[in-house]
């Protein structure tokens, strides 16, 4: 299995799906000649040509809408939005059309489109460029929401997204693009949606994360083991919709404690949903209230120290775990 970075794994997924299916085409700002803001599409214009790798004007609402129409008319578009923050300009198209058309049209219309976008802070780009709002998209019935945390997952999940007949919101954490890992080169390598990944087994507490926050959770698990002798299980949700709640519940029934880690704001965020589901299904197994370690409820500040303080850290996770014992 070749080792590669997540951005390269994503590119491999795009390449393979384009080779497999002629109806797949890519659209986005600076994805062609420039190769994408995070270099995911680099080289694809040269390989597939301008009809299949389309540089677009800066027009998020427009290009997502074009994607929807193209999907309705027989193509499988992948629309890249530079960041999740800019996806708000396209929110109407995503929510009022892509997510709802199947239901509203008596099943006549479905929108097989993949919308990729980057999320996450940590680069001092401040509040218009740094948020993680995966949970926002998970809120809308009709959308599938995928948040990979590793190169192999990124590839398997992105390939799977192209085989879906629904709109898939595919969110990539900027801190993950450079991560290295072994990635299967089998062109049929797919990772099913709704299958959480138990990254580390443990018996005392369950740490749940996805995308970027999986890594804080994993580092916290190591610290807990080494410094406190606490055995933490780490679960990577991989997809928020569909949500593999069963894996989480099984784990909580074993460990009796759960901490949810996410970059997104705490108030009204996905961690709240997950916490409620754990409470509904595993209340009797819990030895402590479910804890949430999330981003602070504040627009992302520019200053390095403040930005760091606004994001959840492994120390925050450790602290939350210790408070449960």
């Amino acid at each position: 299995m070749p080792e590669m970075r997540m951005r390269d794994a994503l590119r491999e997924a795009l390449r393979e799906e384009m080779l497999r299916d002629e109806t797949v085409f890519l659209m986005g700002e600076d994805i062609g000649a420039y190769g994408g803001s995070y270099a995911v599409t680099k080289g694809l214009l040269e390989e597939f040509g301008e009809e299949r790798v389309k540089d677009t004007p800066i027009a998020e609402s427009g290009i997502v809408g074009v994607g929807i129409g193209a999907a309705m008319a027989g193509l499988r578009p992948m629309v890249e939005l530079m960041t999740i923050n800019f996806s708000f300009l396209a929110l109407d198209q995503i929510v009022n059309s892509a997510a709802k058309l199947y239901h509203m049209s008596n099943g006549q219309i479905n929108v097989p489109m993949v919308v990729r976008m980057a999320s996450g802070g940590g680069s001092q780009l401040a509040a218009t460029h740094s948020h993680s709002l995966e949970g926002l998209y998970a809120h809308f019935p009709g959308l599938k929401v995928v948040c990979p945390s590793s190169p192999a997952d990124a590839k398997g999940l992105l390939k799977r997204a192209f085989r879906d007949d629904n709109t898939v919101i595919f969110i990539e954490h900027t801190a993950n693009y450079g991560l290295k890992g072994d990635v299967p080169d089998d062109p049929d390598f797919l990772i099913e949606f709704g299958q959480a990944n138990v990254l580390r087994e443990g018996s005392d507490v369950t740490l749940v994360g996805y995308s970027g926050s999986v890594h804080q959770a994993t580092r916290a698990a190591v610290m807990l083991q080494e410094q406190e002798g606490i055995s933490a299980e780490v679960i990577d949700l991989r997809t928020l919709r569909p949500l593999d709640i069963d894996t989480v519940i099984r784990s909580v029934q074993k460990t009796n404690r759960a901490v949810i880690v996410e970059d997104d704001w705490k108030f009204g965020g996905f961690a709240g949903e997950l916490s409620a589901q754990i409470m509904e299904r595993a209340f009797d197994w819990l030895d402590a209230p479910v804890a949430r370690v999330c981003g602070k409820d504040v627009p992302m500040p520019y200053n390095r120290n403040l930005e760091f303080a606004a994001l959840p850290s492994e120390e925050d996770v450790v602290e939350a775990v210790l408070a449960m014992f």
Binding site: A33, L125, A127, D297, N303
Partner: protein, 327 residues
């Protein structure tokens, strides 16, 4: 054109102040002292200077992600600007906004904006307020050729003309949206063409010639002030540096020859020779202007570097205003 010697020298001063501010900011970034993303304005100085020279602090502007030049030209405090780039608590946004989000309400600067195309509707709102309250204030909306493809621009342009608002859309057409040339992002050559579709005049001017900008902006602003409605002024210009940061040459998305061609028409050099011909400026005098500004800049950078970082407790402040609480 009727233009006083003082105004001519002031235009020069504004341009040089922007240039030096940006060059120093670029150096600070390259040396790792200033983080984040800096979208520098070098090459486009004539636009900000030529427009801003008609405005008072009462008049407003909406800016873009490439906003330093606008604020410097409007009289921005260089100390607070550098302090913001450094992420210090003495900065314009207490270190919370950074390069892309600096505003100064006292100067009518409604904000740089990290979201492309966010400015136009905001400018229309400010213009709406100015008309509503019976003032003769004017609002200038700066935007790029790239931003002219966002729906928000079109929605704003339509409303500006429909409501006959005192606003001037100033398009800084530098030929690129990030790394995509204009020819690859729109089928027209002149963004000014779009004005007709909304029922307002569209004017094209040489954005490297500060006097041309000054004159065209003067007319559009006067028109807005007297209640005759909005216009769109397109300034053909060029960014000498990269989309973000300094480099700018030896990049894949444009030819060095093209950069050099535009650099021959450096707005500051062009204007300096004009001023020399007019007997208003000598090489020595120009050097003195630079020295004075560099002095101001060095002092501002020292201020920034000596300023504290925001306190930890500042994180959860400034989310809601308490101003309205008493009402």
């Amino acid at each position: 054109m009727d233009i006083s010697n003082d105004t001519l020298l002031d235009l020069h001063h504004r341009m040089v102040r922007i240039r030096l501010f940006e060059e120093e900011a670029g150096k600070l970034q390259e040396s790792g002292k200033v983080p984040g993303a800096l979208h520098l304005y070098v090459g486009e100085e004539a636009v900000a200077a030529g427009v801003m020279s008609h405005l008072s602090a009462e008049d407003q502007i909406t800016s873009t992600h490439r906003g330093h030049g606008h604020l410097v030209a409007k009289g921005g405090d260089l100390r607070k600007m550098y302090a913001e780039l450094y992420g210090r608590s003495t900065g314009y946004c207490k270190g919370k906004g950074g390069s892309m989000h600096i505003s100064d309400l006292d100067l009518g600067m409604l904000g740089a904006n990290g979201i492309v195309g966010a400015g136009p509707p905001i400018a229309i709102g400010a213009a709406f307020s100015n008309k509503y309250r019976g003032t003769d204030r004017v609002t200038i909306c700066f935007f790029g050729d790239g931003a002219s493809n966002e729906g928000t621009f079109h929605e704003a342009a339509n409303m500006a003309a429909l409501f006959k608002l005192p606003v001037v859309f100033v398009c800084e057409n530098n030929g690129f949206g990030e790394f995509t040339s204009q020819a690859r992002h729109q089928a027209i050559k002149d963004v000014a063409d779009r004005a007709a579709g909304y029922g307002m005049p569209g004017i094209i001017t040489d954005g490297m010639d500060v006097l041309a900008v000054y004159e065209a902006a003067g007319e559009a602003i006067a028109r807005a002030r007297r209640g005759a409605g909005p216009s769109l002024l397109e300034c053909k210009t060029y960014r000498f540096f990269d989309h973000v940061g300094v480099r700018g040459m030896g990049v894949v998305y444009r030819e060095d020859a093209e950069v050099l061609e535009w650099r021959k028409r450096d707005p500051i050099t062009l204007f300096e020779s004009r001023l020399e011909e007019m007997g208003l400026l000598t090489t020595e005098a120009a050097a003195q202007v630079r020295e004075r500004i560099l002095f101001e800049i060095r002092e501002a950078i020292a201020f920034a570097e000596a300023s504290p970082f925001p306190a930890e407790g500042a994180l959860m402040e400034d989310i809601y205003t308490v101003r309205g609480a008493a009402r």
